[in-house]
């Protein structure tokens, strides 16, 4: 379980997060929605320690993440980045098994390659893709490889940062389905940030809306359409009129 308690993050005078409180129960899929520039990615990076919060506490299974042993802590996570963030200089299979080729989880090269091929198959890519380089792949294939890398070490917690950005609706649907299947199959805790409502409906068990640096609304996906929250209603229906200023 991940608990965020009163998380603040300032960049100079810009107060991006202004007291975020959120709990993500174990083995549930939480989707955080919100407009562009509302701090969704910053929140996710705060949990991973890529960005240090200005104040507040982040607990993972009751332990403050600041006191956790860094390698062991990160070994519990997998992450799919918005642009894939694949390493250009490495082949696809080396990208997928990056964590398994070095460090505490190191496996023999042949075994790592087998795992890579298996994970690529799991995300719908053929074994011959393993030898290609990221620059030789389409955007959709890069997302799938990123997804294969995120699940390669079978993490307990997986983060998805805008998993469908830049994809056509069909490929976005494929990625959404894959995420849902994989999260269910692995029993992983998932946290996804997106402003794509089709992703939200496909992936979420619970939804939280981030606006003005705080969690404006949170609840199960079943209550998304009748929440009665004007901010959420405006966002999910994509209306220009409402409490959220269209020009920011």
């Amino acid at each position: 379980m991940i608990e965020l308690r009163d998380i603040h993050k300032n960049f100079g005078s810009n107060r991006v997060l202004r007291g975020v409180n959120l709990t993500i129960p174990k083995a549930e899929s939480m989707v955080i929605i919100g407009g562009s520039g509302t701090g969704k990615s910053v929140l996710l990076k705060c949990i991973l320690g890529l960005v240090q919060p200005t104040s507040g506490t982040i607990l993972l299974d009751g332990q403050d993440v600041k006191t956790a042993e860094r390698d062991a802590f990160l070994a519990r996570f997998g992450m799919l980045f918005q642009g894939g963030a694949l390493f250009d200089s490495l082949s696809v299979w080396q990208n997928v098994t990056f964590r398994l080729l070095r460090g505490s989880l190191k496996r023999p090269k042949a075994e790592a390659k087998e795992i890579a091929v298996e994970k690529l198959r799991r995300v719908g890519l053929s074994p011959d893709v393993a030898e290609l380089y990221p620059a030789e792949l389409s955007g959709g294939m890069q997302k799938r490889v990123g997804l294969a890398r995120a699940i390669a070490a079978e993490p307990e917690i997986i983060f998805f940062d805008e998993p469908t950005t830049g994809l056509d609706p069909i490929m976005a649907g494929v990625i959404n389905e894959l995420i849902r299947e994989i999260v269910t199959e692995m029993g992983a805790t998932a946290m996804t940030i997106t402003h794509d409502m089709s992703s939200v409906r496909a992936i979420a068990d619970k939804v939280a809306m981030l606006h003005d640096g705080i969690i404006q609304w949170t609840g199960p996906i079943s209550q998304l359409d009748d929440s009665g929250d004007p901010y959420l209603d405006q966002f999910i229906h994509g209306r220009a009129e409402g409490p959220i200023a269209a020009v920011r």
């Binding site: 990076k45 980045f81 963030a85 964590r99 460090g103």
Partner: protein
């Protein structure tokens, strides 16, 4: 009065910004040095850096040294002839190349070729979130990206400098013997007899320092890059400027240390 105060405030702010930048670079360099002696070590990345910094720099270093050595011989001959001292061409070419021009020109070529390439590569990795991805995959960016490049530059730039010295002297030899009429055996004997061990050691030591500076600057500015294509461009430009200036400043300091009476 207000104008003067504003002027002084601007000078003060600039000085503070420069000092802060020096502080950040120094901390980064010290951090890189401390990671060099602590595992894990990434041998594959180190070997790859040896190849890209060393082997692939050979043509540019060789050609630069060759033409500079030749031009130096012509200049010394022309200058020396004004007071009947043409005979000193081999000695001055040797000392000029080995003590100064070899290390400085190789250092500047490395700054142009390697520092820019490191900064652009790492900056691109930063803006495409590859650095964040490294961290989430339990890999320290400093150990994976910076240490192999800095270590490789420390090892390989002195070798490039040594090679540049030899090729530069050979450039002078070719011009001296083929164009200026020097006897080959005499030219070589004068060159070898005139050089001392300190000339060679100082040259190689300068190479190591310049290699360290070039690689650290590339990594630092790459890691500190701002967003987008502009961020990558700015990081690349700043890294080369900083590396070139620091190499020239370090050259002055090292020359003072090695050769001041």
């Amino acid at each position: 009065m207000t104008l003067a105060a504003g002027f002084l405030a601007r000078i003060g702010a600039t000085i503070l910004a420069v000092l802060a930048a020096i502080g950040r670079v120094t901390i980064y360099a010290a951090d890189a040095a401390s990671h060099m002696v602590r595992p894990p070590f990434y041998i594959r990345e180190f070997a790859h850096s040896l190849l890209t910094i060393g082997y692939f720099s050979l043509p540019v270093v060789g050609l630069t040294a060759l033409f500079t050595g030749g031009a130096l011989a012509l200049q010394i001959y022309a200058g020396g002839s004004r007071f009947s001292a043409e005979a000193v061409v081999p000695q001055i070419v040797a000392i000029g190349m080995v003590r100064e021009l070899g290390p400085v020109l190789v250092g500047l070529m490395i700054a142009a070729r390697v520092t820019s390439s490191i900064a652009a590569e790492i900056a691109t990795m930063k803006v495409t979130e590859q650095i964040d991805a490294l961290t989430t995959l339990s890999t320290h960016p400093m150990k994976y990206l910076t240490v192999p490049r800095v270590l490789a530059a420390l090892f390989v730039v002195p070798l490039l400098v040594g090679l540049g010295d030899i090729i530069g002297v050979m450039g002078g030899f070719l011009v001296g013997t083929e164009q200026l009429g020097f006897n080959r055996a005499t030219y070589l004997k004068n060159t070898v007899d005139f050089l001392e061990a300190i000339d060679i050691w100082s040259s190689l030591a300068k190479g190591a320092v310049f290699g360290f500076i070039a690689a650290v600057m590339g990594c630092y500015y790459g890691m500190a890059a701002g967003r987008g294509a502009q961020g990558v461009g700015r990081a690349t430009k700043s890294s080369v400027e900083a590396a070139a200036v620091l190499i020239l400043a370090a050259n002055f300091i090292l020359t003072s240390l090695f050769f001041s009476a």
